[in-house]
Amino acid sequence: MAESVLDVRHLTVSFSTYAGRVQAVRDISFSLGRGETLALVGESGCGKSVTCRSIMGLLAKNAQVEGGEILFEGKNLLHLSNRAMREIRGGKIAMIFQDPMTSLDPTMKIGRQIAEAVRLHRPVTRAAAKLRAVELLEMVGIEEPEKRYHQYPHAFSGGQRQRIVIAIALAADPRVLIADEPTTALDVTMQAQILDLIKDIQKRTDTSVIFITHDLGVVANVADRVAVMYAGRIIEVGLSDEVFYDPRHPYTWGLLASMPTLAAKDETLYAIPGTPPTLIDPAPGDAFAPRNPWALEADRLAEPPLFPVSETHAAATWLLDARAPHVEPPENIALRAQAFRKKLSERSAAL
């Protein structure tokens, strides 16, 4: 992998609530290479946004970082002063938030909001910042950008707001871009345009991207590597090809199986049975065990470590332990794996 730009090590975050301590992120580690796109995927509530907000130093008041470190340019971001963090935020590390309305100021014209983001980290004149803002609006597909520059956020549709937030994040040419569900409110053609835009900027400036999305199609399109999260942990991580074509964790199998295909119109979609676990006093063992048709006795007793599958691929399931019985993945997954192995052998034959 390319030299790493950002290292998250053993990050653990909890929230205190009326009902108890919510263990939202439990011992997460990953690194992000220069120019690389890492996708974070996983069920709603599994801790994707909290992980990213920790990097940005923007956790809610009731949050507590219980351990770990986040290394960026030789510094642990968790130890920086508020002031130093403000410098980095929106500059070297920019984030596109999941909720566009909370990151837009409803009382300020959107053009000014973008222009201010341009000026925040670069000494340019007002006029130049305005030009750049209009250009950014155009890049994210807002029609009549000069005219819309002067409108307030409420006058934009859901997807248009999302694109304005993207323009603000891109305004500073960040080193690391964290994109939390940046295209969920967009139709597929607009989404494609935005993904191309992000890839383009990435190629030009070697930006590293953390991309959160639940759309596995989008992941397949943008990601170099994929980390799958469940109940606050990373349970599988690997190159995009490895996770899509040779997934090892039963949760990843379930995720891939719940995508509707254009061909199918069955009565009910496959949904992973059961509900996400409570994060307050989680039971011992593998958090996914109660919903896992392949669960072993060991899963109920102890949390599985990440077992390496290849140099770049690992999964946290006892199925990968040498003592575990051999389990066949479901048919659709087995077919994917077959196709992938065939491709690999063709590739090595060609070498």
Partner: protein, 292 residues
């Protein structure tokens, strides 16, 4: 599903004040049958939310009309409007902006129950709320939390529970699942379908995830810049897309296949200069396309 139209929309138009006469929704007509799911897809900013909000009377109708179960609701006021609102609910696109931050989740879900007096006492109210919460896959410990203490997808499900609380007949679902991961999407879609079967619910389902829209909808309308450019049975629109914008949309659906995504070619759509004065023309049974 019956043949009877529950919602009939005629020449519906909306012009936002201060937008110098631009029609955000431009003279659209369609009807939704009782018990049917009618999918509305289209480009970001094409007028889907505006349409949905007019149908539940959260937004004024600039011109045209909407009839619900034979009754013209275009200009309802007061008591009658309130009674219509109980029957016609909306799941909002933006789960953040639509939940009152000062209220606990149980009180948010109970908003409709309270307004329309649907529970005879406290206990019945609590029971209804707990059932709704469980049906959208949330946990009992979530009842006493505030909206900001939830993830994006969890908030979206609170909005769904709130909309179902008044036992409506018609629900506008404005992107109800786009903030959800696939597995919970499947749960929510299955939930919406089960509720539909149980209560003969009618949905206007707004989304941009075409594979999901196709999956859930009986019929679909594709919007582009305020107009419906194609409408027909869900399967036909996908198998035989007639309008170039629809073709472009279908060609852009990302698939969970990295190899395929690397090779993907999309069909761009370049709109014709002026498409004034066109109409929807029936190209095959029940399948219409905009023709100028």
């Amino acid at each position: 599903m019956s043949e009877k139209a529950l919602v009939t929309v005629r020449n519906l138009t909306h012009i936002y004040p201060g937008s110098s006469g631009k029609r955000a929704v431009d003279n659209i007509s369609f009807s939704i049958r009782e018990g049917e799911t009618f999918g509305l897809v289209g480009e970001s900013g094409c007028g889907k939310t505006t349409t949905g909000r007019m149908l539940v009377r959260l937004l004024d109708i600039s011109s045209g009309s909407v009839a619900f179960d034979g009754q013209d609701i275009t200009a309802l006021q007061g008591k009658e409007l309130l009674s219509y609102r109980r029957q016609a609910q909306i799941i909002f696109q933006d789960p953040y902006a639509s939940l009152d931050p000062r209220k606990k989740v149980k009180d948010i879900i109970a908003e409709g129950i309270d307004i329309h007096h649907l529970a005879s006492d406290r206990q019945e109210r609590d029971e209804q709320v707990s059932r709704l919460l469980a049906s959208v896959g949330l946990r009992p410990e979530h009842l006493t939390r505030y909206p900001h203490e939830f993830s994006g997808g969890q908030r979206q499900r609170i909005g769904i529970a709130r909309a179902l609380a008044t036992q409506p007949r018609f629900v506008v679902c404005d992107e109800p699942i786009s903030a959800l991961d696939v597995s919970i999407q499947a749960q929510v879609v299955n939930l919406l379908k089960a509720e539909q079967r149980l209560r003969n619910l009618t949905y206007l389902f707004i989304a941009h995830d075409l594979s999901m829209v196709k999956y859930i909808s009986d019929r679909i309308a594709v919007m582009y810049r305020g107009r419906i450019v194609e409408t027909g049975p869900a399967g036909r629109v996908y198998e035989n897309p007639l309008h170039p914008y629809t073709r472009s949309l279908i060609s852009a659906i990302p698939l969970p296949d990295p190899e395929g995504e690397r090779k993907r070619r999309r069909i761009p759509y370049v709109p014709a200069e002026k498409e004034e004065g066109g109409t929807l023309v029936e190209a095959e049974a029940e399948h219409y396309v905009w023709t100028s």
